[in-house]
Symmetry: none
């Protein structure tokens, strides 16, 4: 049986940007578009060029390789020709492959919100689609409030869809803008639209999670015949979020109910990177991954119940609806599982550290990592700190330098004009090759001061750490309150173009930062000598 193709449309960079607290930079958008493109998403909607400087800059270049690069905008304004609409003009001039234009499809909104006639709105849809096609780009129409509009006036809502389709739109996307519709309603209405003559292969679904049904509504539309799903990474979006593609994609690829009938652009191999994709995105948002997320959460394959755990050991399928490795996640119950051991052996091998399977130091390393991760360390995101810990366990790190101590002071003073000014100063005491070195520096903040003091005089190594550069600094508070544990991740780079990440954890943010800073310098010195960073 040939399987039908489902098209995946990601709107993380456009509708996802409506999430409270989310505000992507151009660099964030470039990084996220590349993750989506690589994963196998068909359409990456990047934003609204012309609406703000970030999106305009983002659309100055094509940002995807395989995926169609989509710009969002509005159909032409009432009473203006498509050619004379400045918004539409800047969309047409962008480097997008396709344009997705939002149009009203509820007659009440057309008259009240747009202040125009239902007929002029239909003409606007037709003209806008034609203008997009003339520019050589693919055209899509997002029908805003489609389901609520259909419930109020099915004929008019249908007329909007048909007008867009007949004008040549590749996709007409049916939006449940308020997120209040139920799956059975979505299924019935999508079936009605198809019965009215618009093929399901031209229909998309855009669902919101206001009743916890965004995933169900998206899949109900597919069951009814729609063939494009719009959603976001980790379900971010306005109010309760958009349909979560990180949940929908594995269901489509892995569940018999769907896999036997449909295929997507995401291969099983790419799907094994799903957990990493989801976490990488949270990392960009600088927020903690949600443990209970379907498929990718840290708890998604975790078992606590005694009876369940022992049944799970007998036969994992008993309590696992899919194999965790199919989405790049891990089963977590067994304390001394063989899978963990071979994971470690592989991780070491990749870093050029050859260890015998029965080396007792391997057990010590596994125990140390588990213990430190329980304290808050995250070695999966800190490759260099993991490598240093491993090499320290296997006894292959020379004593290049020793930190005798440090002191950081932050003071709010007043300048000559009585204006407050906050000054940071750090003192670091090192011992290198028997010599004590005391350095002091001022910085923009306490961590910057500490970094400058630490690297001000590094004795015999000063020359060779000159090209070390800190490229990113991230802080995460691991539990509530100002007395909580802090995790600091520092990304460094050098003129060789290689980058590495180190981690520090402490109740004290300065202390955590210092651990990560000094690990980074140690790694650099090791790397210069071919003692670290030699793996793949």
């Amino acid at each position: 049986m040939t399987r039908e193709r489902i098209y995946l449309f990601d709107t993380t960079l456009r509708d996802g940007q409506q999430t409270p607290g989310v505000d992507f930079s151009v660099d964030d958008k470039i990084a996220i578009a590349s993750l989506l493109d690589d994963f196998g998403i068909d359409y990456v909607e990047g934003g609204y060029p012309g609406a703000n400087p970030t999106d305009t800059a983002f659309f100055s270049k094509k940002r995807t390789r395989k995926a169609a690069f989509v710009a969002f905008g509005m159909t032409r304004r009432p009473g203006v020709s498509a050619a004379n609409d400045p918004g539409l003009a800047s969309l047409v001039q962008s480097q997008a492959d396709a344009l997705c234009l939002v149009a009203k499809s509820w007659d009440y909104h057309v008259t009240v919100a747009l202040g125009t006639t239902p007929e002029e709105n239909l003409a606007g849809i037709r003209d806008s689609v034609e203008a997009v096609l003339k520019s050589g780009k693919q055209a899509m129409i997002d029908c805003e409030h489609f389901f609520d509009g259909y419930k109020a006036n099915p004929d008019y809502a249908l007329a909007c869809v048909k007008t867009a389709h007949e004008a040549g739109a590749r996709w007409v996307v049916l939006c449940d803008t308020n997120g209040g519709s139920q799956p059975a309603e979505i299924a019935r209405i999508v079936s009605d639209v198809i019965a009215a003559g618009v093929p399901g292969t031209c229909l998309g679904i855009h669902a919101h999670n206001d009743t916890g049904q965004a995933v169900a509504n998206s899949l109900a539309a597919i069951d009814a015949g729609a063939r494009q799903i719009q959603g976001t990474l980790n379900g971010i979006g306005e109010r309760c979020g958009n349909a979560n593609l990180v949940t929908i994609v594995p269901t489509l690829v892995l569940k018999d109910y769907y896999r036997t009938r449909f295929e997507t652009g995401v291969t099983e191999e790419k799907l094994a990177g799903l957990t990493e994709l989801s976490r990488a995105f949270d990392e960009i948002l600088n927020r903690a991954p949600y443990h209970q997320s379907p498929y990718v959460g840290a708890s998604a394959f975790a078992t606590k119940a005694g009876i369940h755990a022992s049944a799970l050991l007998k036969d994992p399928r008993t309590y696992e609806h899919v194999p965790p490795e199919s989405v790049g996640n891990f089963r977590s119950v067994m304390v001394s599982d063989q899978g963990g051991r071979s994971n470690f052996l592989n991780a070491l091998k990749r870093r050029g550290i050859a260890v015998a399977k029965d080396d007792p130091r391997l057990d010590r390393l596994i125990a140390t990592v588990k213990e430190r991760e329980a304290e808050g360390y995250a070695y999966e995101g800190a490759d260099a700190s993991f490598e240093l810990l491993a090499r320290r366990t296997f006894g292959t790190i020379p004593d290049f330098f020793r930190v005798e101590g440090f002191r950081v002071m932050v003071e709010r003073r007043f300048d000559a004009l009585g204006r407050p000014k906050t000054v940071s100063e750090a003192v670091v005491k090192l011992e290198i090759e028997g010599k004590t070195i005391l350095s002091v520096a001022e910085g923009d903040g306490p961590v910057n001061a500490l970094d400058l003091a630490l690297r001000k005089d590094f004795g015999v190594f000063q020359q060779e750490i000159a090209d070390l550069e800190l490229t990113d600094y991230k802080v995460r508070i691991l539990n509530g309150g100002t007395g909580a544990v802090t995790r600091v991740l520092i990304e460094s780079g050098d003129s060789g173009g290689r980058r590495w990440t180190t981690v520090g954890v402490s109740e004290n943010i300065i202390d955590a930062s210092f651990q990560a800073l000094s690990d980074s310098i140690l790694y650099k010195v090791m790397k210069n000598r071919g003692l670290a960073g030699v793996g793949a």
Copy 2:
């Protein structure tokens, strides 16, 4: 048209206890049972008496007034009579009104996990139901792995359901134990069971969220004829959680698709306490409420987009699928750099600040917010700092206190045994009512030390800030490198139960933290006097 009754069965205290990190005390259970009982839940499952001391103690008394009090357990063991099964005996002797017994319904599990015959398993179901009825309690059977079992061997799975029903069980609950089934499968299988002669009025559904479909699966079972839903508060539970009753109940009560056909024990009046119920439960769990939760999340009725926000003000139904007050939540149009003039007017009005549309101070406030948001402030997530900024602009903040300066010192020292130890100390100098106050404190880190020093002696206000508590602390680095700009968000609360958030931004993390800390105290002092936090 008479509406059919849907029965709500809460398993927060039993299946919810399987959530990683959740471990209820007897007092927790008493408090939660009372919340559920009061809300209008029909069945409150309290745990497994006999399995652990907490549950045994909890079941030593009846803990509900209106709701049926349910104990969980297992059907009799193979080869033992019901009367001679000690587990069943302690259930029968508990103060529960009803017993819910789990039974295998997948023949593979019967032979492999239980090690008995399919026939003996059926006999066990029959005998156990009869023993429960003889004790005068209501009997329910949870069919574990029912949907997977039905897919593998429909006849045997059906035989389990029919045996329980014919023996007199009030409810037979169909469990999607692994959480992997899709709504269309659930609907088909529930229909099959009803077609086989077991009335839907005796069937329950127990769904897990492993594919993000727990809500949809529960409601699909209702659509197919089942009449009892098992779920938990805020969807807690093993792996990805159980069906979330906090999402399902408002959908049943408010959505036309369900309200026209069904009724529950939750009145519209009780539903208006839903947000409070959800937050009270998070409070017991000591975790921050999830902002994007359907219906009850802080973001569930929040709008950021400029165009949406102005449409929302014209007609709330445009972007709200239900009125926020129907679930005890609030509309929130967030102030952000995307917001226009009408957003600001509305935001001020909601905070009890009446401003004329043409007040020139309004322009100054908008300009200040835009400028500060460009520097990295995020007022949409910091309601209290926004209100202080607004009141400052409108000239209504008295000089309660003045910060003359502060100094923070972090030092890594060595203790008597030569072990490194990092010590943080802060000094704060305040002026309150003409008096200079100098305080010093040590803390777990520099921010904690600063917080302790700042609140150590607050002069005439000391008494009234005693109940101020920091409930969350978040740090975001706004661009790469240790010299980057840092944004700190601090959430505070007091004994009145109200929470507020303040923001600070600086190149210096200590400085940013100090801004947010002192804003929080100022807000608290204002609030105590009815000068802030007076809005809806």
